[in-house]
């Protein structure tokens, strides 16, 4: 008997697509309705994604054949532990950002509300599509949908954002081309586009140059999409000038979905056996390590808060890719395999989501872009600043936050892989994080406002965010702590370990 849940992978994508059109139509009549339709859709999708995860964990993977066509010919949607997990992360952050955007978009883009939410839903469609699909060409299509809507959303503010968006457009298209070339190469030698089918057809061809070249094309293409150093140049401007909820989505989800796509390509299309043939993951580790250090150093030099956070994202993509790079050499439960990488996908989404939303809050309240302007806000906006402090401490890696857990897992993985140098790099990067995040915390709380020497009490009245913006920010901040403790109790680890078992990375505990 087929349970209803098995239809959900398609439903999630279609729901979002329909809601995009609904918003467009409804927007003609009532502009205010857009945000509510968007939120309602996301809530439904989020619930569906939880049910999918539950189904995957209890009954095993879901295979959905579009139009009933059998896999090698038709498009197949596959849900396993990895993408069910990523889907939850993605929809959760999207939901939080949508709630946050209500007031912020009214304030920033009052004329463009309808198109904003239409494109926002298209963005979600693309992201969900990348996650659920089991077909490599279909994945390319969704990557393009995601990127196109992201270009539009970044450009929404006009002026300098147009330039940022254009840079992203050019580089993103190049990345997509590389990805497409990779698909073409694989198709030319195997004649298949289905991920599972490819993984069966490829092993005899592992020595083939075309297959190796295809793998490199995938890596380069996705590295541009995930802004892995040195291909990160589009990211800082795009993050800095987009509306804040889009910055949060860009940093927390859009570039992370590229790491998901990378994991999918590397472990599902190709397999561990292929990766072990080439030294590619060793190189990847070093590139990622460079990204961590350079990203952090560049972040230190920034004066604009959102640009600083953007460079911090470059560093954090380095964390994820370092963890991916170590996944084949560290195999012990619980830190072996992809666990640290998939863990950091969620952790980074929470932390960076929170930080960008707070940065957006400063812009919303007082149009403050630069770190030096943030003096004394700790008194004026106590809850918002507390959220920032928690997320920033988490980025630095103070226990028991999520950042600490990520750090610890990556350190243990690199120790097991006998690569002490990465332990040093992780520790060094947390010090660099300290330098640039503490500067902000100090400005928020400790630096006196100019011209207000020793005016201790009631110098500045409270000026908190509206509740609909405050609640998302505080939710993310408290999750930074709660998830950190949950990770330490290892309650969610078995989900991630299923992924490792599926890819043949780790034995059962």
């Amino acid at each position: 008997m087929i349970s209803a849940v098995e239809h959900f992978p398609l439903l999630i994508v279609v729901l979002s697509l329909f809601s995009a059109f609904t918003i467009f139509v409804a927007g003609w009549f009532e502009k205010k309705s857009c945000v509510f339709i968007s939120i309602a859709t996301l809530v439904t999708q989020f619930i569906l994604s939880i049910m999918i995860l539950h189904h995957v964990l209890t009954r095993g993977p879901i295979h959905y054949w579009l139009g009933g066509w059998q896999p090698p010919w038709g498009i197949e949607y596959v849900m396993d532990a990895l993408n069910a997990y990523v889907l939850i992360v993605l929809l959760f952050l999207a939901l939080v950002c949508a709630i946050y955007s209500k007031k912020n978009i009214e304030h920033e883009l009052p004329q463009k509300r309808v198109s904003f939410y239409t494109i926002y839903q298209l963005l979600i469609t693309g992201l969900c599509g990348i996650t659920v699909t089991g077909d490599i060409f279909n994945m390319y299509v969704f990557i393009e949908i995601t990127s196109l809507s992201a270009y539009a959303l970044i450009a929404a503010r006009g002026k300098i954002a147009l330039k940022a968006s254009f840079t992203y457009l050019i580089l993103g298209s190049i990345g997509a081309c590389f990805f497409l070339l990779g698909i073409g190469f694989l198709y030319s030698v195997t004649g298949s586009l289905n991920i599972h089918d490819l993984s069966l057809l490829l092993p005899p061809l592992y020595g083939n140059r075309v297959v190796k070249a295809a793998f490199v094309f995938f890596i380069v293409g996705l590295s541009i999409k995930m802004a892995l150093f040195p291909l990160h140049t589009w990211l800082p401007d795009a993050h800095a000038f987009a509306p804040s909820e889009i910055s949060a989505m860009l940093s927390g989800i859009i570039i992370e979905i590229a790491t998901y796509a990378f994991i999918r390509v590397a472990f599902s299309v190709f397999t561990v056996n292929f990766i072990k043939l080439l030294p590619i993951f060793d190189i990847l580790c070093w590139v990622a390590a460079t990204a961590i250090i350079i990203g952090s150093i560049l972040a230190i030099t920034q004066l604009n808060l959102k640009r600083m956070l953007a460079y911090s994202s470059v560093a954090n993509m380095g964390y994820i890719m370092l963890a991916v790079g170590l996944s084949t050499s560290a195999t012990n439960y619980p830190w072996g395999g992809l666990t640290p990488a998939s863990m950091h996908i969620l952790n980074h989404a929470l932390m960076k989501g929170c930080l960008f939303l707070v940065a957006g809050a400063f812009i919303y309240k007082a149009d403050l872009w630069y770190i030096a302007d943030l003096r004394g806000l700790g008194r004026k906006m106590p809850y918002t600043c507390a959220a920032f402090a928690i997320a920033a401490l988490s980025m630095i890696g103070v226990p028991p936050s999520v950042g600490f857990v990520s750090k610890l897992y990556i350190i243990l993985a690199s120790l097991e892989a006998k690569k002490i140098v990465f332990v040093v790099i992780i520790l060094l990067s947390s010090l660099l994080n300290l330098v640039y995040f503490w500067r902000v915390i100090e400005t928020l709380y400790m630096k006196r406002e100019e011209g207000k020497e020793h005016s201790s009490t009631s110098s500045s009245s409270k000026n908190e965010l509206p509740l609909s913006m405050l609640i998302p920010v505080l939710t993310l901040a408290s999750l930074c702590i709660i998830m950190g403790i949950l990770w330490l109790t290892k309650i969610p680890i078995p989900i991630l370990n299923k992924v490792n078992v599926m890819f043949g990375l780790v034995g059962r505990p």
Binding site: V398, I411, L415, L431, E442, Y445, K447, T457, T489
Partner: protein, 501 residues
């Protein structure tokens, strides 16, 4: 094998300051209620920790495990005699300093008092957590909480000097936290566990000598809170903090957490026998001896009272490291009892410095001529503390120095005995001028302060009573009585545990 009992008391003792901190934050608008929470939390915590003493004295170990973080690492508390000793010291002094804080902060009309009390409670949460932790990872979690929560207290004044001190504080201590995390991860990958065990968890066979040596150096760098030279300079700089902070955190909780960590590493991670085998004991002892002497020399040159006390702390902390590094039972006894004894004496000195500041606004020793006549109780308590620091009877510093001296003899090292004596002499050199100036110095400030219509008199009762209590206890500890017996018994049990029964 030690008998263990399951109990949630360690957890409750930790929760007290944590929930206290939240309540303080919530009642920020009502100062009396806020300070009430501080007092309540501190009293409750002290009595909870006190209630664990009989069990530990009966030779049992209290355990409280929650969940497994990694194979072989639980998140949990193990209360043994040594941990309890540190917890007792911190929590009992927190009670006294809470009263003192009220007097100090209100008299000086400090700003941001809610933040102050909140962070103070959080710091105690960290310190007691460190004391009761059952393994290195749990300890690391609290250790870092302690570091971060102390920052707002150091930078409390929010002047550029205070901000600089705060930055320096974090730069030193979070860097050291990174070393510690590296060391813990390495220990885990070598030993497969990080529990504090009798006789240590590392064995000579488990790794090469050079790896074990490097790991030990990593641990030392990780416990930079112990403020040994050359990584000491954050401590004198941090003296810009309000005096109760300097008193409790920078004489007891924070710095002792570092020393505590070193003792844990030596005794429970490496084990006494392996320390002998690797020759690490003598290295550590020489290192500590160097700090003892040099820090005292720095202290002589310092005119700011609190900074001089800070250098004295640096020197005294190294006594503890030194005693443990001797690896002889007497030496370790001296080290362990010096934790509560030094705590009480040094806090007396700091509280006196604070009440001088409150009563007269004076920070430098050269300005304090004749102040002993205006503030007799305070300066008398100061004298008691100073005598103790120099190791003179009838103050408890004498006992710890006596044991340390016996320890050097047990370790057959006369040079180290000479070091202790020289260092005591230096203590005398930098403390006696203060006492002399205070009591016999020529009273200069009279006219000017009379002109201001303000005569220097004793600080408020909230401040004088706590410092008298600590001074009285510093003397009581020197004589045989039930309280001293409890401390000595705890130390004896701890040493029995160290040597494996």
């Amino acid at each position: 094998m030690i008998e263990t009992i399951e109990s949630v008391r360690p957890l409750l003792a930790i929760i007290c300051p944590a929930s206290g901190a939240i309540l303080i934050l919530l009642s920020g608008r009502r100062p009396n209620l806020r300070e009430g929470w501080t007092l309540l939390a501190s009293l409750l915590q002290f009595s909870l920790i006190l209630s664990m003493v009989p069990m530990v004295l009966a030779g049992k170990r209290i355990e409280c495990n929650f969940f497994t973080m990694f194979p072989g690492i639980d998140f949990g508390f193990h209360v043994d005699a040594f941990g309890l000793l540190f917890a007792l010291t911190s929590s009992s002094l927190w009670v006294l300093v809470s009263f003192y804080s009220i007097g100090y902060m209100r008299t000086l009309q400090e700003h941001a008092q809610t933040r102050y009390y909140f962070c103070f409670a959080l710091a105690i949460f960290g310190a007691v957590g460190v004391a009761l932790s059952g393994n290195l990872v749990t300890m690391y979690i609290f250790y870092e909480i302690l570091t971060v929560s102390t920052y707002p207290l150091v930078a409390h004044e929010q002047t550029s000097e205070a901000l600089f001190a705060g930055r320096k504080y974090l730069a030193y201590l979070l860097t050291s936290g990174c070393f510690l995390l590296g060391a813990i991860a390495l220990t885990y990958s070598i030993a497969g566990t990080t529990d504090f065990a009798q006789g240590g968890i590392l064995t000579v066979a488990s790794a090469t000598h050079s790896v074990l040596m490097i790991l030990f150096i990593l641990f030392l760098l990780g416990f930079m809170k112990a403020a040994y030279i050359p990584f000491h300079s954050w401590l004198p700089t941090a003296m810009v903090a309000p005096t109760p902070v300097s008193a409790l955190l920078h004489a007891v909780a924070v710095v002792k957490a570092g020393v505590f960590g070193i003792v844990r590493t030596v005794g429970y991670v490496y084990g006494i026998d392996m320390m002998h085998e690797l020759g690490l004991g003598i290295m550590l002892a020489s290192f500590a001896a160097f700090t003892m002497i040099v820090a005292s020399l720095f202290a002589i040159a310092e005119d700011n009272l609190k900074r001089r006390l800070a250098y004295s702390t640096i020197s005294q902390l190294s006594y503890i490291i030194f005693g443990v590094a001797l690896l002889s039972p007497m030496g370790i006894t001296g080290a362990m009892i010096h934790i509560p004894f030094h705590g009480f004496m040094k806090i007396t000195l700091f509280l006196c410095a604070g009440s001088i500041l409150v009563a007269s606004g004076k920070k430098n020793i050269s300005e304090m001529a004749g102040i002993g006549r205006a503030m007799p109780i305070t300066m008398f308590a100061f004298t008691v503390g100073a005598l103790g620091m120099c190791g003179l009877p009838p103050v408890c510093g004498f006992i710890s120095k006596w044991f340390l001296g016996l320890g050097t003899l047990q370790a057959n090292n006369l040079i180290f005995l000479a070091v202790i004596l020289i260092s005591s002499l230096l203590d005398v050199i930098y403390f006696f001028p203060i006492i002399y100036t205070a009591f016999f110095g020529k009273w200069e400030g009279t006219e000017s302060s009379l002109a201001k219509g303000k005569k220097i008199k004793e600080a408020p009762m909230f401040m004088v009573i706590p410092l008298s209590i600590t001074a009285i206890f510093s003397i009581i500890f020197c004589f045989p009585n039930p309280v001293t017996d409890v401390i000595l018994d705890l130390v004896r049990i701890a040493i029995c545990n160290l040597r494996g029964g």
